[in-house]
């Protein structure tokens, strides 16, 4: 693996609490604390020295920071191309003015349906749809670029066409995503609103079916995600990590970007290929699969192993392209103990139909060596859901300064 000692992009979570309580959210708020402005400014200096051009700011909900305008000005002073990710619910005049004055490149706003009731059902905040749309229009009137992000959930009936029409009405490009992850404490509660197979089927059919499917060999040599490929995530408490989901800290000291990108963990994560993922590398559906290391860690406790929700989505995607797949029983009694919807699988063609059969998840010596070298790739899963904290009751932790 080659060392990458420069960065091109960074994602900084500047807030640890939120004014929504979205059903699908992977975050557990009010647990980490937040950096103060001087700490953020020092972090920005480090990111600039490391070569970052593209800076994304989010939370929690970033607009809940009273000093967000100062954060934006600090980012502008260092010449970053700034993307602000927000729910768009509470854009004060000061924040709006700062977005315009600092030339924020893009404001990325989450929207969950074209119907107000459905959007509000996701956020669990009444009238959130109307307020968010009003703020979108206000930003657009100021010639600010707004991109809409729509993670699909089972709480929304919106079709691809309806969502595109919503984007057109608001004058914004809209990106629809099919993936959903477990909560960062290991709870699977967020997956309860994961898109249904029918929704996934429509997504793959309408948005992705013409995308070329790579060969198995091409897929094995490709990277499952872009974490640690000239990018970093800094959480609200200053901890430096690969992304919002992958467990494990890249540096001991908070905000220590230089140590993070020089760390073996950073190089390891950036160098992961599909062939390094046990189970997945032997799966016949691998070419149709899209997965997240962090979600794999949340769902099954092994960052380098199968991710159950991805297994189910890969099957839907395969079926959208090639037709129905029959789920066949395993041939081995040991494998039969496994959830039959979790891979790896082999394809079985019969005279009448095509099916998938669970096969063994084979771990090699190298898999165990990696787990020993980076213990955080495997973690115990709690399995018990975390009761969501209503937004109004979230307390702000004492502000932390850099050690």
């Amino acid at each position: 693996m080659s060392a990458v000692l420069t960065l091109r992009s960074a994602h900084v979570l500047v807030s640890d609490h939120c004014n929504h309580a979205c059903a699908h959210c992977y975050q557990v708020h009010g647990q980490k604390g937040e950096m103060d402005l001087p700490a953020i400014e020092r972090l920005f200096d480090e990111l600039f020295r490391a070569g970052v051009l593209f800076l994304s700011l989010s939370g929690g909900e970033a607009t809940l920071r009273p000093d967000l305008p100062d954060v934006l000005r600090a980012a502008r002073a260092r010449g970053f191309a700034i993307t602000l990710m927000t729910n768009g619910y509470a854009l004060s005049d000061a924040v709006h003015a700062a977005i315009v004055a600092t030339g924020v490149w893009k404001v990325r706003i989450s929207i969950y349906s074209d119907l107000a009731a459905e959007h509000d059902a996701v956020t669990r905040v009444p009238c959130s749809f109307d307020r968010t749309c009003a703020n979108i229009q206000r930003l657009r009137a100021a010639n600010v670029q707004v991109d809409l992000a729509t993670p699909m959930t089972s709480l929304s009936t919106a079709t691809i066409a309806r969502l595109r029409a919503l984007g057109a009405r608001l004058g914004c490009p809209i990106t629809i995503a099919s993936g959903m992850t477990a909560k960062e404490d290991g709870s699977l509660a967020s997956l309860a609103v994961a898109p249904t197979p029918a929704q996934l089927g429509a997504f793959f059919t309408e948005l992705e079916h013409v995308t070329s499917i790579p060969s198995i060999e091409e897929k094995k040599n490709s990277s499952p995600c872009g974490a640690c490929t000239e990018s970093l995530t800094i959480h609200s408490d200053g901890s430096v990590r690969a992304c919002t989901h992958i467990p494990g800290f890249l540096a001991k000291a908070r905000g220590d970007v230089v140590s993070a990108i020089a760390s073996p963990s950073y190089q390891f994560i950036g160098g992961i290929r599909w062939r390094d993922l046990h189970g997945c590398r032997d799966c016949a559906l691998m070419a149709h699969c899209s997965r997240c290391h962090g979600s794999a860690a949340f769902e099954l406790g092994d960052m380098l192993g199968p991710q159950p929700s991805a297994c189910r989505a890969a099957r839907v995607r395969y079926e959208a392209l090639h037709g129905p797949l029959e789920l066949l029983p395993a041939m081995d009694s040991a494998i039969e103990q496994r959830d039959p919807t979790i891979g790896p699988f082999e394809l079985v063609a019969t005279a009448d139909a095509t099916g998938i059969r669970p096969i063994a998840d084979v771990l090699t010596e190298r898999d165990h060596e990696l787990a020993n070298q980076f213990p955080w790739v495997r973690r115990a899963t709690t399995g018990s859901p975390t009761k969501p904290v209503p937004a109004r009751r979230l307390l702000r932790r004492p502000i932390l300064t850099k050690e």
Partner: protein, 398 residues
């Protein structure tokens, strides 16, 4: 399943592709064959479309709407009203396969035809413009504006006053040989037969039509690049072609753009003719190798660049030099611009440094003649200024 053979043709470009449509409803076959008759032996390029039982492509809309995704430099996935196709672009035509929505009408075929024509023409340095057009002899003028602005009406009025109307809604501008040849396209609104041009006119300029004025005025537009941008019918360039695409657009922007405020009645022809005479007299044509913008004066007859012209980077532009190339990100623009080494050097020097000093540096650091360096520096900074990335030093933006 019935099989219908059609020929999609662009005679002005020597382009012909044989299209085979499988499953076209019987009631549409005759009309399709009338619209796109076959002629002669099958050309080397062929395209197959099949009518699908399921939903295909984008929702049917009044206007053609198209989404293009590139698989590689020459292969694109095109989704349009009621159709989606995978097309491979070649130098003399295109080939591919695609699907049409069930119950497909001529409209879906038309949408595919137009989308593929735009895609292929852009590859050949030909841009498709939403405009009407007239010519007087060998010289042509374009009329730009939103739908309903009066482009077609203006062209028709001039057609009755000594000009010849050559397009109502859309035409191609061939920029491949540094002369802007105006070429009608075979898909004007409705299904009227295509116009045939023996010798294409050279575009001398364009006017943004402003209807409902009380008096006729023709004034130089301050936002020429924006006018061209709004009128351009194009798709995202394929991998590795963004630079060529931008250069093409820059060439187009070198054409002068005026604002034509036209009252609903009265003569237009005399004023437009006088304006055309001014354009010709100024001898600002691409044939001479000079290019100019709407704001800046290019190299004068005495040579050199304006010594007092100092520009600076607009404050909110974000940029870094990555692997020797400046990556520039401007607010209000989704485009990320990557500059070549010479442009990167100019970009680095432009802040508060007079243009002659920048030219001196470029001449010293790169193997280029001074006259070429002067031309390139002025062209580049003019483009950046029009694109909102540079501003005159000392100017305060709101």
């Amino acid at each position: 399943m019935n099989r219908t053979e059609l020929d999609w043709v662009l005679p002005a470009f020597g382009w012909r592709t044989r299209v085979t449509v499988l499953g076209l409803p019987a009631e549409h076959v005759a009309l399709a064959q009338q619209r796109w008759p076959t002629a002669g032996a099958p050309p080397p390029f062929s395209f197959t479309l099949q009518v699908s039982a399921g939903p295909v492509g984008l929702e049917r809309q009044r206007r053609v709407h198209t989404v293009v995704t590139w698989k590689d430099a020459d292969t694109a996935l095109v989704r349009t009203n009621g159709a989606e196709v995978e097309v491979c672009l070649a130098s003399r035509g295109l080939r591919g396969v695609g699907m049409l929505r069930a119950g497909a009408t001529i409209g879906a075929l038309e949408a595919v035809f137009r989308s593929l024509v735009v895609l292929w023409l852009t590859r050949c340095s030909v841009l498709v413009i939403h405009a009407s057009a007239v010519r007087r002899g060998d010289d042509g003028l374009l009329f730009l504006g939103e739908s309903g602005a009066g482009k077609t009406t203006t062209a028709r009025r001039l057609g009755r006053e000594g000009f010849r109307r050559i397009a109502d809604d859309m035409l191609a501008i061939d920029l491949s040989e540094r002369s802007c040849r105006m070429i009608p396209l075979p898909f004007e609104r409705g299904l009227r037969p295509p116009l045939v041009e023996a010798a294409p006119a050279t575009c001398r300029g364009a006017a943004l039509v402003i209807k409902g004025a009380s008096a006729l005025t023709i004034e130089l537009a301050a936002d020429g690049a924006q006018c061209w941008r709004d009128a351009l019918i194009t798709f995202p360039p394929g991998p590795g072609r963004a630079g060529a695409h931008l250069e093409l657009f820059a060439t187009l922007c070198a054409l002068p753009v005026a604002r034509l405020a036209a009252p609903p009645s009265g003569r237009l022809g005399d004023a437009v003719a006088a304006w055309l005479d001014q354009l010709l007299a100024a001898e600002h044509s691409l044939d001479n190798g000079d290019s100019f913008g709407n704001h800046t004066v290019m190299a004068s007859s005495e040579g050199g660049v304006p010594s007092d012209h100092v520009l600076r980077r607009v404050p909110n532009v974000a940029w870094r030099v990555i692997d020797g190339a400046a990556v520039v990100v401007a607010p209000h623009s989704p485009t990320i611009q990557t500059l070549n080494p010479v442009a990167t050097r100019i970009w680095e020097l432009v802040d508060d440094l007079p243009l002659p000093a920048i030219v001196d540096t470029i001449v010293n650091e790169f193997d280029v003649a001074r006259t070429q360096a002067e031309h390139d520096v002025m062209q580049f900074v003019s483009d950046l200024e029009r694109g909102g990335l540079l501003e005159p030093a000392g100017e305060t933006r709101p």
